[in-house]
């Protein structure tokens, strides 16, 4: 966000007053909830990884792929059943940061805009929230890769 306007002394005074009257989010409670929820998601992910490694006779590295795919499916299903947003309201970053949160952001957009049709609605809107993550994830990966290649 840009700050493209001048702040008058009157606005500055009111900003301070409004800040005084605006409640602070319960950061500690949010952090604890995120830690527990994120931890639980990770435990499920690890369980799936171990399960796939044993059932499909994969190395732990390879078993990660079907495990992630399953987590995405679970996140998408919970979004479709209207549960994910309620859980995330409590868990916060614990459900937003893992791959399930990524799935939630895409499926929520797709569901929301299906009435605008498959092209402009689902197709066009699906990555409105996730797009930024993808773009900057890819850009970051590119520069990290470049750095790694040069340092080697």
């Amino acid at each position: 966000m840009s700050t493209n306007q001048q702040v008058s002394p009157e606005q500055r005074r009111y900003q301070a007053l409004a800040k005084k009257h605006t409640p602070k989010p319960p950061v500690l409670r949010h952090a604890v909830a995120a830690f527990i929820a994120g931890g639980l998601v990770s435990v499920v992910g690890q369980f799936l990884t171990n399960l796939y490694a044993r059932l499909l006779h994969l190395t732990p590295d390879k078993a990660g792929n079907p495990a992630v795919a399953t987590m995405i499916l679970i996140g998408a299903l919970l979004t479709g059943f209207g549960v994910y947003d309620r859980l995330a309201r409590l868990a916060g970053a614990g459900l937003a940061v893992p791959v399930t949160g990524f799935a939630n952001s895409i499926v929520a957009e797709a569901l929301e805009f299906k009435r605008e049709g498959l092209i402009y609605g689902v197709g066009g809107r699906m990555f409105t929230l996730a797009g930024a993550v993808i773009v900057y994830g890819v850009v970051t990966a590119f520069f990290v890769g470049l750095f790694k290649a040069l340092v080697k």
């Binding site: 009111y14 009257h21 929520a108 805009f113 929230l129």
Partner: protein
């Protein structure tokens, strides 16, 4: 040039003070219709609304359609109660929150009344009542319908995130109410009367957070209420109730403080807020309600009833609106806000 000078020299007969008009023949609000969603129906005022919908989709194919159906339902309910038909209406003044006022336009198409579209965000109810009273007192109409609606799901997807997206709400966030209200104003008739209207100026005190509209709108409410009191020579205690649009919990507290520091008056004894009345404290709606339907439904269903029952004689409805758009706040602009006030008397 000469005629311009004479026009300027002669004051408009019904203007008082800087931003206020006083009606010669105050129009009466003869009937109202209100329709709210399920959560609003479970709130403390639930039993006062004409219709409570079973779900948020009301059997429609989209939430936008549902919002239109609710507005039309409110309009027809008001007409039925007044024993009038759409043909009797000279004008409909209607506003909502959706881009290009689609709720109002599609509803006006269905009802078939000449229409002026209003955009005052959550201040639309008082804006409509004030303008409607001007049309009637000016002799331009016999009946005017004032209508507005908002819908939680349509507002969420336009202003914020898709409905199923999981995120943590800030404690000061307000919930856009699923509610529609319509009122019929008449030149002659029985009911609480619109006696005075004060039109607000757009106010910007440097609040950028679109989740903190209560704090953004409180200075607009202070500006309009203080100007109204100055223009009319009234004091806060001349009103049984001053009901702000939807400042919710924290905006309400800020307005009380602004009244003290900027106006040197104590508004608290008579001040209440539609955004605080609509939901119960156990309904997990953050700081309270917002949305253009909120002040309309609360005013039309609850405050007017209390006036007809004799609980209040004189009420100032000061509806507040945040006039930002997703575009303006993404570009880093502050939230422009407004407050329109109408004095209702029995």
């Amino acid at each position: 040039m000469a005629s311009g000078a004479t026009l300027r020299a002669r004051p408009a007969p019904r203007r008082i003070g800087k931003q206020t008009v006083q009606f010669e023949n105050p129009p009466a609000i003869i009937a109202t219709g209100t329709v709210v969603g399920p959560l609003e129906g479970k709130g403390p005022l639930g039993h006062l609304f004409d219709h409570v919908t079973e779900d948020e989709l009301v059997g429609q194919k989209s939430f936008e359609r549902a919002e239109q159906m609710m507005l039309q339902n409110a309009a027809y309910t008001a007409l039925n109660k007044a024993g009038l038909t759409p043909e009797d209406m000279d004008y409909m003044l209607s506003g909502d929150l959706l881009n290009q006022l689609i709720t109002s336009s599609f509803s006006a198409l269905a009802v078939g009344v000449p229409v002026f579209g209003l955009y005052g965000a959550c201040a639309t109810s008082a804006e409509g009542l004030g303008l409607g009273a001007m049309l009637l007192d000016g002799g331009f109409a016999n009946y005017v319908m004032v209508a507005t609606a908002s819908h939680n799901r349509t507002a969420e997807r336009q202003y914020r995130y898709p409905n199923e997206y999981g995120f943590q709400r800030k404690p000061h966030a307000q919930r856009t109410a699923t509610a529609a209200g319509a009122a019929i104003l008449a030149r002659n008739g029985e009911g609480p009367r619109v006696t005075i209207a004060t039109t607000g100026k757009v106010v910007d005190r440097g609040i950028k957070d679109p989740y903190n509209v209560g704090a953004a709108m409180a200075p607009a409410a202070a500006s309009t209420i203080l100007t109204h009191l100055q223009d009319t020579g009234r004091r806060p205690q001349d009103y049984d109730l001053i009901a702000t649009g939807d400042l919710a919990l924290y905006g309400h507290r800020l307005l009380v403080e602004l009244g003290r520091t900027e106006g040197g008056i104590d508004l608290e004894p008579v001040l209440d807020d539609c955004g605080l009345m609509l939901y119960g404290q156990d309904q997990e709606v953050g700081a309270g309600a917002s949305g253009s339907g909120c002040s309309a439904a609360v005013t039309f269903a609850s405050i007017l009833k209390d006036m007809r029952d004799g609980r209040y004689k004189r009420v100032l409805v000061a509806a507040t609106g945040a006039l930002h758009s997703p575009c303006s706040f993404q570009q880093g602009e502050y939230i422009p806000t407004i407050c329109h006030a109408v004095s209702l008397e029995v």
